[in-house]
Symmetry: C2
Subunit: 400 residues, 2 copies
Amino acid sequence: MENYNFLLVIALILLSTKTFGLLSSHVHMPQVVGALLAGIILGPSCLGWVEETDFLVKASEIGVIMLMFMAGLDTDLSELKKTGLASFIIAVIGVIVPLIGGTAVYFLFFAETMDFQTILHGLFVGVVLTATSVSITVETLREMGKLSGKVGTAIVGAAVIDDILGIIVLSFMSSFSDPAASPAKAGLQILAFFIFLAVVGLVIHYVFQKMEEVVGQKRRIAIYALAFALLLSYAAETFFGVADLTGAYFAGLILCNIANLRQYIGKKVNVASYMMFSPLFFASVGIKTDLSGLTMEYIWFALALLAVAILSKIIGCGLGAKICGFTSRDCLRIGAGMVSRGEVALIVAQKGLSAGLIAATEIPAVVLVVIATTLITPLLLSIVMKDSPAELAAEQKQTA
Amino acid sequence: MENYNFLLVIALILLSTKTFGLLSSHVHMPQVVGALLAGIILGPSCLGWVEETDFLVKASEIGVIMLMFMAGLDTDLSELKKTGLASFIIAVIGVIVPLIGGTAVYFLFFAETMDFQTILHGLFVGVVLTATSVSITVETLREMGKLSGKVGTAIVGAAVIDDILGIIVLSFMSSFSDPAASPAKAGLQILAFFIFLAVVGLVIHYVFQKMEEVVGQKRRIAIYALAFALLLSYAAETFFGVADLTGAYFAGLILCNIANLRQYIGKKVNVASYMMFSPLFFASVGIKTDLSGLTMEYIWFALALLAVAILSKIIGCGLGAKICGFTSRDCLRIGAGMVSRGEVALIVAQKGLSAGLIAATEIPAVVLVVIATTLITPLLLSIVMKDSPAELAAEQKQTA
């Protein structure tokens, strides 16, 4: 007989993420916090009612792609052109500081000798801390209506560049243990990805513009656009070694300046996302791990790593933003928006595990960092994103 | 490394089902025909690009549940009360005639002796032909805007009753080979399901009515409603041995007379359905099978079974409708709407296979019946559902 448990699991996730989301918005926190808590409560760390399944992994991957695709669609291109260099500088410094910080924490706890393997191992712990997971931030900023502003665009842009930088660093590190991967190869792949994007982008942009002129706003356009986002995500991962969510973001970017389409596609994808896929994604972050296996030493290590993970992104990205002339308040906002680490950190850790660059006992610490930063980011953002009295006055002056 | 092929598969399915759907609507056929053809072309019978995966099975199950839930939401209760007895009579005769017809075809081809096992085997082939799959019909009628009319309601009502009758017959047959299943037990389970439905229905109907009064049309209501449909589908399968789609249909029925909610929920579920789940379902019907393993004898058997499958439903259900006083034209429409056999027939066949009541070599014939009836039903409906000149005149008179 077939097993219909997945129906129960999905229903539980939909009910709990929405209910906890409503509760958290009741106490003036973003709904994402509640949705993530719902996942932790349903998962093995608490009730143990729901475990990770192949279906859940795939559905939440689709959820991530939809969120990133919508983030791309929402991007204000003229704003990104203005913040492009800033995003780049923010991303670079925001990768270097956590890399150094994570390595330092590892040395502090576990380095008895300073041989090559230990240094490599320590550096890899640093690498795990580099990759920002922007999807939580994107959802939080979307809820606040701050996604397309100057700060929002800088964050999303920096996170996309950060993702690519993370992959370069990962490939570079892996090249020491795996003869197949090399820094040169990784660099070429990323270059090839951007050439591919430029060509595909021009063609697809033209096709959708023509479609919009001929048929207008019809379901087919939203369905084809979603298929395009899925294809670009697939191509990014499979042919260029770039994260699928980067592909999804660029798919949105390619379509974001076809005025009427952008809103129509975004609306349809958004419904499919909030009715099913994004609840599954947010819950699966909580379900992904079992926190019961931690020992005291690793709990301290995990807490230290967590503190460094948070501070290093705020300091690194904030510093980058400061160099680019953002106000101190906006520097704090950008730093806070880059704190969250998500599935990318987990994937990097998993790759390190299979390459022998990270120990199995260190994985729960990585998981704690991922969950805690993911929980903290919306909280931080909800605090720092509030308009200051001066900003409110300036806005009122503008609209007056 | 993770495998991202499922993204490519989903993109291919979305692109091809929509494109073939548009092509078929271009030649005045329902889009469902195109979507099903797309699945057959992608599947092992033709290109072999896509195979059945756990993800696809589960996503298409959700697609079926969404379609049936929307069918329930769309039900005109006052119309169903009027057609309730008619639906019952249509369903009963529409089960008896294919049961006899399928048994006869088996005897014609394979019965050399008339021992108990052969009779049982033949009867089981008949049982496979009894279960109508209403989801294709529902989607076709929805496209035509004929779902909530007198004929549409009679078809959906009869198909739901037919599903329950099919389960009774299946349980009855299985009781001969499996000591655990018994006709009495099956009867009690179905009775229990309806008592459960009555209690749950009253509570949930009250809860949603209150929610609508307090918060109005908010996302949470659509999400909770979908979760309820999933829960009822799960409960039907797991606790009462009733098909999940029956549960989903009743979930819709329970909410269908809360005036403002019904449309709002339907709209949101519909977007999630057409953006992802129903394309995956329709494609998976085509993907489910490999037609290359058929021998000549079994091709003839399959064709005979197919002819009987089509004619027996049209005759049986049409006869039932005639008894209930429908016009000859409407009898033909109701018969045509009941022709399609879907996943239920496949599940029944699979259960028969494990109980030794059907041979593995007969399975491709069942699959052919499922696919061909599924393809033919929308075609038949698009032909017979057209308003006759007399009906058009009557309608014009009404609106004038």
